[in-house]
Symmetry: C2
Amino acid sequence: MVAASAAQSSTRPRLAPTPWTSVQFGDLFWAPRLRLIRERTLPALHRQLRTSGRLAALRLGWRKGMRPVPHPFWDSDVAKWLEGASYSLATHPDSGLGNAVEEAIALFQGAQQPDGYLNSYVTSVEPEQRWTDLRDGHELYCAGHLIEAGVAHFLATGQRSLLDVVARYADYIASVFGTQTGQKRGYCGHPEIELALVRLFRATGEARYLQLSKYFVDERGGEPYYFDLEGAERSAPRGSDGYYRRHGLRGLALRRYNQSHAPVREQAEVVGHAVRAMYLFSAMADLAGETHDAQLLSACERLWSHLVGTRLYVTGGIGSSEHNEGFTADYDLPNDTAYAESCAAIGLIGWAQRMFHLTCDGRYTDVLERVLYNAIAAAIGSDGKHFFYANPLASQGEAHRQPWFAVACCPPNIARLLASLGQYVYSTGEHDLAVHLYVRGSSTLSVGGQAVVVRQEHDYPWDGSLRLDLELPHPSTFTLWLRLPGWSRGAALQVNGERIDVPAVLERGYVRLERTWCAGDRIELELPMPVDRVTAHPAVAHDIGHVALQRGPIVYCLEQVDNPLPLHTLMLSRSAQLTARLDRAYLGGIVAVHADAIAADTSTWNGQLYQTQPPPLRRHPLVAVPYAVWDNRSAGQMQVWIREAGVDDPL
Amino acid sequence: MVAASAAQSSTRPRLAPTPWTSVQFGDLFWAPRLRLIRERTLPALHRQLRTSGRLAALRLGWRKGMRPVPHPFWDSDVAKWLEGASYSLATHPDSGLGNAVEEAIALFQGAQQPDGYLNSYVTSVEPEQRWTDLRDGHELYCAGHLIEAGVAHFLATGQRSLLDVVARYADYIASVFGTQTGQKRGYCGHPEIELALVRLFRATGEARYLQLSKYFVDERGGEPYYFDLEGAERSAPRGSDGYYRRHGLRGLALRRYNQSHAPVREQAEVVGHAVRAMYLFSAMADLAGETHDAQLLSACERLWSHLVGTRLYVTGGIGSSEHNEGFTADYDLPNDTAYAESCAAIGLIGWAQRMFHLTCDGRYTDVLERVLYNAIAAAIGSDGKHFFYANPLASQGEAHRQPWFAVACCPPNIARLLASLGQYVYSTGEHDLAVHLYVRGSSTLSVGGQAVVVRQEHDYPWDGSLRLDLELPHPSTFTLWLRLPGWSRGAALQVNGERIDVPAVLERGYVRLERTWCAGDRIELELPMPVDRVTAHPAVAHDIGHVALQRGPIVYCLEQVDNPLPLHTLMLSRSAQLTARLDRAYLGGIVAVHADAIAADTSTWNGQLYQTQPPPLRRHPLVAVPYAVWDNRSAGQMQVWIREAGVDDPL
């Protein structure tokens, strides 16, 4: 056993995500999903954009009385699809998809107004209402997604066709908003443009986009309160007033709903609409990094701790209630009514990635992995054409994925995330290479300008025996950081057959291996994968007395199709053996968990609704499958948390 | 030990409830509550009727633009108060209350129209809309409560002042509704008049009222569907359409909501609005008895079995959802969102009493006792002036009694039930005397025309050692039926010191003692009162893994004021000793249950939201108090069902 050098160093490396194009997926879990995204999802979404009228709306041909009436969010759906399609084209050229992308870009080009403004809904339906409802009109939100699409298309293709459009739009927006005389001192009710502008700054090098992002973030929640001023100037109520009234969202609750209840630096709790929160915090993290703003970083760290300490589902889902599509109270994590919107999980992925790069702390990538393998993976069905909007952790059998939604934010969001999944696997720097996710496949990365091929060979997440082989044109000294997942215990590590003392080289959740690496170097990481019984904090009333099964990063659930009885009647004794078995033919190849469980025996119950005897019990097999794959077979009950047969008088 | 004669006889006695005036309450449980009803509740309700405008509305002086606008249900609130006040005056004369009653009667007299019609809302506000919205207008419902008030006032005082008014109204109604040409073939969306007409028939001997009741009951749910015909004739939407739309109640769901989805004889499941169901089933039971209608009785028995087998809360509350103020699905008994409307429990008391008298079966009076000591007792606060509308079985601390409601059905309903509580204690017949409830006090009953004084001496429901002494002017042969509560096990019985073999004399839940009774005869019934752990049918997902504590008829709950920790973190091991202690100073004199329980120890939790170790535990005392008295101290959490520390691998 050799101790790696400088193992206790606390210097944090400067790392950046690698391009999504650099990673090739050859694993059992993601590779089939990414293929689905390319072959099924992106074409299916394009059909939806066409048949729903979203593409046509960009021709600005709508006139009063025509059906369908365009909707304020429509452009963002097209933009997110465009972003996802661009990512996909870069890794898997496809002329059909490429043509569809060019067509959509042409539509956006054609819809841009002489002054740079670009919004099909406002231009067609309410041209006189431009920028009059920042709180709920989603104009800047749509602009943000369009900017992201422009950046993605540029990064994917090197073409400036859409980038120029969005840059012109951003320039126009910069002329409208700001602190100069005559400018509007507003910001969007739905954050998104803030992070998009940072991406635009990075793609173009133009600092004014960073400034505009910073303006939007800093202005938020200030006094006088912009949304009140805006409301007072309106001649008619806002279209969303009825929605808010029905949901009891007013006053402070409404300010919290869109995170404008306080200046962002003062915010200490994650509140309100979960997607909005994630996009805002992502922008804050971006700005904290770009502007070296310790106060913003500190706000982000505080908000993160609050989220993961009190308001995160075990699946990585966030947002406990449909009521505000968001957060409720600490430890309030109902399972059957969990909202856990797919877009919120996507937003959390983005925030986690940014927080990691600010801190190099595995606690962020641990959450990223949890969200990805559970909440995100579950959001799309095995046909690639059905999607969850809400992701409950229990269902009586009524929750099913849908092909599309009137408000269709989630499906194209899932597509753009997965089409760019390659960016979450590694990070590199001048002298560092970090491995965040263990995914079989070969990737060509650049460390300080030198090409390094990392070849991962294993069956993660189903098996914890990992092998990483390096290929380099010539020996190179850099630090290899391997994430030691937060769920793992007793990991064993060998480099070229030599055992490494893992605790001695562990820094912020990563194993630090600094050496001169050569072609053929082999790292073997053994992550034992028992099936864990996860317990929630006792303050979580909905989970008390229950356990969730987790193996590696995979959170399990019970489905009625495997367990043909009312699921709540099943319970697991603490001493029950939990057996994990890989079945390559089952649900696309998964490890299922089997146990000898206990069921309340309704057949020998005395027929009364209440009785004074304990319920009769019987043995019953239990089969748990990854939450990621639920609702791909017969409809029926599902539950993540399993009742535990306690220990009588355990003290 | 002597075996009573004819113990196995299956002849069912013919019994009738005794007048409420015949029973004197001297117990610890009800006597203080009945005093509250007289001294606090009835005056407080009268103030509410006055200040809310309900009494003034009867002067018919409302004109367009005046505030408040009378409401369709208002007359029923006045009527229920009048009914309760009448009951009270008969047992406890009170000139102030008497004057208020006379004044209210005068108002009703003055509001009656020349044709007999009597409804302050319709007459003042929508005179042209008479009988145009039977589905939701509550006209016949209000008439029913007024009829009940008229009958009660007549029975209480012997005066016909209000009885004549309601009889004239009923005659007018009989002219409007029926199967004759020119008559409306309608019935009320909210049953109530049906049972009221049977009471009017019994008070007056006029068979036409029974006929009218039978018409309303039989017509219900027939085709062509009256509420559709009525709707088609309307020029404007009904006022309730918006409410139904918001609650998704339409089509069959709306028909079930008001129990018009099928002819009553075909109804097999209790569905829809719980109060409506109870009032309808009570009328069906009345008619089954009065008209010897076996089909109606059979429908009632079927509906009863469905209710108590699948949809009854352990407190006796019914109606699982606020959504339809009623029933949902079998075994769907959520605790925190339980609706369990006070009026529904009151309706169930009435139905149970009627079913007993049709069958002489203790399964009905067992439920009656459960509802009375738990759901009903909890519905009114210890000040007599605050009331629950909904009666959840768990609360996070937000559920509190209110002095009044915009729809104020519950408070006066509670008052009229408790002011007439004497009618539920005994039944008598030509040769029979049945004791249903064990209540300390002296009552003078009539058995076959002969006065029998029953003096009960005990501390039921806090103690199960019961003594009943009889006083008769001369020896008399009759059968004494003593209810052996369904919750009791191992009862011991002595008559004049001689032991009786209880199982040998048990018939349908009652001990049958047929003999020649003499003055000074003493019955001693020993009902052991352990604290029972009640388990719900395993199909009840909300209660699985939990127990409710019950001792005698009393169902217990935890309140945070006694158990200062999050209540869901408490659990009870199966072996924990449960100690019952009477404390005469505590909450008006109650038996509390104490146990050495177990709590999840959040102080030694590792700070993470999720962990893979079982939660740390510690001992914690548990104090449970009767559900009947909850929310009379500090606000805080409450829960009836207590998590059970199971048995690890109990098989």
